[in-house]
């Protein structure tokens, strides 16, 4: 069937609406919609008509009404509509029941209960509704009090209406009620769970290490006695820091209420203070100290800043030693190198005499982890922590080609890693991509020819591209430094300068956006992950070469879609 016949039905419609339109042009337009824009003629009908109407000046533009968000004051629930927002009314609180619920991935205390309208009248003249408190207003919502709610909204589900008291809502006590309902005390959680979040926790755990320590105040005003140690259960172990003396010995099984989990560097730690309650707990089946204190074997991918007492095996890629003079004027030697395992790469720093050769396999015990330039760095202090393995734990890895595939979401939710490959779509091209000036002293980017630290400077030119990589669930900043940027662009810094001189910085970024926005790319590089999010320093970036057809096939396979 020719295009003319194929679209004849639609063409008839367009002709009715736009009498002057040329039939061949209409057919061509339907063909374009179908072939180039992937919109079948039935769906394209309105668009095509609009196009030809516009061409003949028939089109009238529509206007969008602007919303008005006004406060709605009512006396009775009956006056409320099913989707009223920003409502103000006075109610009597009947019940208030807190509970913990996941809100945006975090455990939050919410509460539900009953409220009655018309609070100043006897209760037989009142109507009772459910409410939900999303904003932790418990202190102001004590049962039998009368309150004014402002900025609350109506929620309707299954024909039943209720009131949502939001975080932004205001609750004003008009008449005091009984005592406020205290925040519920959580059940004890496992060490694994406790390590995942910051905030108050209760745990049942065995003390597997505990020793007094001292913190020296930075202002020189003295010291604070503390206790450091480690708690463990069958799900894992976690360090603790106590600001109060710990009476329980190593090996005791204890229940700890109202401790605080905080992160020290990247590693969660339980903080114990004078409001924390610690008591002996009895459970014969709880794992013994011996079992729990076995040091943990960790792979490079799982290293986190601040970890101690870990066992790991690495393959040496390179090794150097460096002499320096420390603050006390002593000359010291530090040895370090790049190491790998099947899950990635990192650096190893040794404060003892060891000279491994590239390709050697080292087994490390009681190693600790420090961050160096944002990446985890294994540190060993004594020779007896290292043994050079005779037997290969794995087939030797070729360092030139060792990129570990990590899905973006996994990468972003883990720790900093080197030597990874990941994929995603470019969803932002930052306008400060291009040529920058760096401070010759500290390499900071100069702003208006000045460094934050070193004042006005004649900067060194550098090239970088700042992008955002996103897979629809997670995202990361993506930075291409000079070498990978030059290699992606296919031109060197000087040529970029010439281009920018011609089109201006905006023109350069606009061109970049045309080439990159919404494109799927594959990145080799390293990832720095911290509280602010993740940043990937690309060593190279290529366009994903998977064809749409293959991508569609794998999607259909994954989700069992049959055409």
């Amino acid at each position: 069937m020719s295009d003319d016949d194929k679209y004849s039905a639609q063409v008839t419609v367009v002709k009715q609406e736009c009498k002057e339109a040329d039939e061949a042009e209409i057919i061509e337009e339907f063909r374009r919609y179908e072939e180039e824009f992937l919109i079948p003629p039935e769906d394209a009908l309105r668009s095509v008509i609009r196009k030809f109407q516009a061409a003949s000046g028939q089109e009238q533009s529509t206007t969008f009404a602007q919303p008005a968000r006004v406060e709605k004051k009512v006396d009775r629930f009956a006056d409320l509509g099913s989707d009223d927002k920003n409502v103000t009314l006075e109610v009597s609180v009947v019940t208030y029941t807190p509970r913990i619920q996941m809100v945006r991935g975090e455990e939050k205390q919410i509460a539900f209960g009953w409220i009655e309208d018309n609070p100043w009248e006897p209760s037989d003249k009142r109507e009772r509704w459910d409410f939900k408190d999303w904003g932790d207003h418990g202190a102001n919502l004590a049962p039998s009090s009368i309150v004014r709610l402002e900025g609350v909204s109506v929620n309707e589900w299954n024909d039943k209406r209720s009131i949502n008291i939001n975080r932004s809502s205001r609750v004003t006590i008009l008449r005091e009620g009984g005592p406020a309902v205290p925040a519920i005390s959580d059940e004890p959680v496992t060490i694994e769970k406790a390590s995942e979040k910051e905030g108050f926790v209760n745990v049942v755990a065995r003390i597997i290490a505990s020793k007094p320590d001292v913190i020296v105040k930075r202002d020189g005003s003295g010291t604070i006695d503390i206790v450091r140690g480690r708690l463990a259960d069958s799900t894992g172990s976690i360090g603790f820091l106590s600001w109060v003396p710990i009476e329980h010995e190593v090996g005791s099984l204890v229940k700890i209420d109202s401790a605080m989990v905080k992160k020290f560097r990247e590693t969660p730690e339980i903080n114990i203070n004078d409001r924390t309650m610690i008591e002996i707990f009895h459970d014969k089946s709880f794992a013994s100290t011996e079992v729990l204190s076995e040091p943990t074997t960790v792979k490079i991918a799982d290293l986190r800043n601040g970890m101690r007492d870990i066992i790991t095996t690495v393959q040496v890629e390179s090794w150097q030693s460096r002499t320096f003079t420390n603050a006390e004027g002593e000359e010291r030697i530090v040895r370090s190198g790049d190491v790998m395992d099947p899950t990635g790469r990192c650096r190893l720093t040794a404060w003892c005499e060891i000279e491994p050769k590239p390709g050697d396999f080292l087994h490390l015990t009681n190693a600790r982890v420090q961050y160096w330039q944002g990446s985890p760095d294994l540190v060993i202090d004594k020779l007896d922590q290292i043994s050079n393995l005779e037997d290969k734990p794995w087939e030797s890895i070729d360092p030139a080609n060792h990129w570990v595939d990590v899905e973006l979401t996994e990468l972003v939710s883990g720790g900093s890693r080197r030597g990874i490959t990941t994929a995603g779509t470019i969803v932002a091209v930052r306008s400060d991509s291009g040529i920058i000036q760096r401070c010759p002293e500290c390499r900071r980017v100069l702003r208006e020819d000045a460094c934050a630290e070193h004042g006005v400077q004649r900067g060194n030119e550098d090239l970088r591209l700042r992008l955002v990589l996103d897979n629809g669930v997670s995202n990361a900043s993506l930075l291409l430094a000079r070498a990978p940027a030059e290699s992606y662009l296919g031109i060197d810094l000087e040529t970029v300068k010439t281009e920018i001189a011609k089109e201006g910085p905006e023109g350069f970024v606009a061109d970049l956006r045309k080439k990159l926005l919404a494109r799927n790319v594959v990145i080799n590089g390293r990832a720095l992950v911290d509280e602010q999010g993740a940043m990937i320093m690309a060593e190279d970036m290529t366009f994903d070469s998977t064809s749409a057809e293959d991508a569609a096939k794998s999607v259909m396979e994954k989700w069992g879609v049959v055409m």
Binding site: Q16, L38, N166, S221, T425, A548
Partner: protein
């Protein structure tokens, strides 16, 4: 505690919201906003399938683009029509002058009659009409005209994202509406919160309607991958009709077209429309354009067809529009 121990800053900046891949159909059906409580907390539109959308990556062919002159400078409104036939609305505000030069260039092309595929990264926004309706759109952050190949990859990625939500939605029907319950049922973590809110807000609906858009997207990737532009136009003539026939396999487009050469209307327009619905409706309703087309096929003018549809729906009450743009016979 003295100055010795530096307490880690617990006030963490809001992490950047990921760009949800979503078809116009799912987004325009959504009417549940969630406003952030704090000044810098993100706001979201929650869709029926539980997507919590603050930022999205959308695509389609430019269908409308216009400039408005305001007191603070020009602003721009645009429509993108994607493979589901739905329309994504986006806006560029007067306070985004850094985007004005680029959109002016596109506006110029658009007004000259050019149509092109575009992708937009935008932030969800909405307004509420006086009668409480929620109208969703996006404020563009970045946009670009893209090659077909890039768009088709987006169709595939968006189909995958929609299937993932459909799967989660089905799983949620048989589990407790609690975070733990949903996670146990296999709902991915990033969808748990939105799924609870969606299930609490939207009544029962047929989630399968979203599968149609998914199938359309995937089918396009399968059929048209690669060498379409390279193929000479004549080749379409000789291809078997089944491959060039647009999406007739889907239930939504099943209105039978009986090509007629007669320009005289035959029969009653109401009957034509009702017959078209009763033949083509397989539970999802029949799209507006298909009904108009059926009426035009039978020799009625577009205007008559549109009036008749309105009349059947609003006055005679013989058909209903349970979902915008889709019609069913009122039993």
């Amino acid at each position: 505690m003295g100055g010795g121990y530096v307490i880690q800053q617990t006030t963490r900046r809001n992490a950047r919201q990921s760009a949800i891949r979503i078809f116009a159909q799912e987004y325009s059906d959504a009417n549940l906003p969630e406003e952030g409580s704090g000044e810098y907390d993100p706001s979201f539109i929650i869709t029926k399938l539980g997507a919590k959308i603050n930022r999205a990556l959308i695509g389609g062919v430019i269908d409308r683009l216009e400039r408005r002159e305001g007191d603070n400078g020009p602003s721009y409104n645009g429509h993108l029509r994607d493979a589901t036939g739905g329309t994504h609305r986006f806006n560029i505000a007067a306070f985004q002058p850094e985007l004005h030069a680029d959109i002016e260039e596109l506006l110029h092309r658009f007004e000259a009659g050019d149509r092109f595929l575009m992708m937009v990264v935008g932030k969800a926004r909405w307004f509420e009409s006086d009668d409480g309706g929620i109208f969703t759109s996006f404020r563009a952050e970045e946009f670009s005209v893209v090659e077909r190949e890039t768009y088709v990859r987006w169709l595939v990625d968006t189909a995958a994202a929609t299937l993932r939500r459909l799967d989660a939605q089905v799983a949620s029907l048989e589990s407790d509406l609690t975070p733990a319950g949903l996670e146990a049922a296999g709902v991915p973590r990033d969808l748990v919160d939105g799924m609870i809110l969606a299930r609490g807000h939207y009544g029962e609906f047929d989630a399968e309607i979203y599968r149609v858009g998914v199938l359309q997207g995937l089918q396009m990737a399968m059929n048209t991958s690669g060498n379409f532009e390279a193929a000479p136009p004549e080749s379409f003539d000789v291809q078997p009709t089944t491959t060039t026939e647009p999406q007739q396999s889907t239930v939504m487009d099943g209105v039978p077209f009986t090509p007629t050469t007669s320009s005289e209307p035959d029969g009653n327009v109401d009957d034509v429309i009702k017959t078209a619905i009763s033949i083509a409706d397989q539970g999802q309703g029949v799209p507006y354009d298909s009904l108009v087309l059926a009426a035009v096929q039978a020799g009625f003018s577009r205007l008559v067809a549109e009036d008749a549809i309105d009349d059947l729906r609003d006055v005679k009450c013989e058909i209903i529009e349970p979902r915008f743009g889709f019609f069913q016979i009122l039993e």
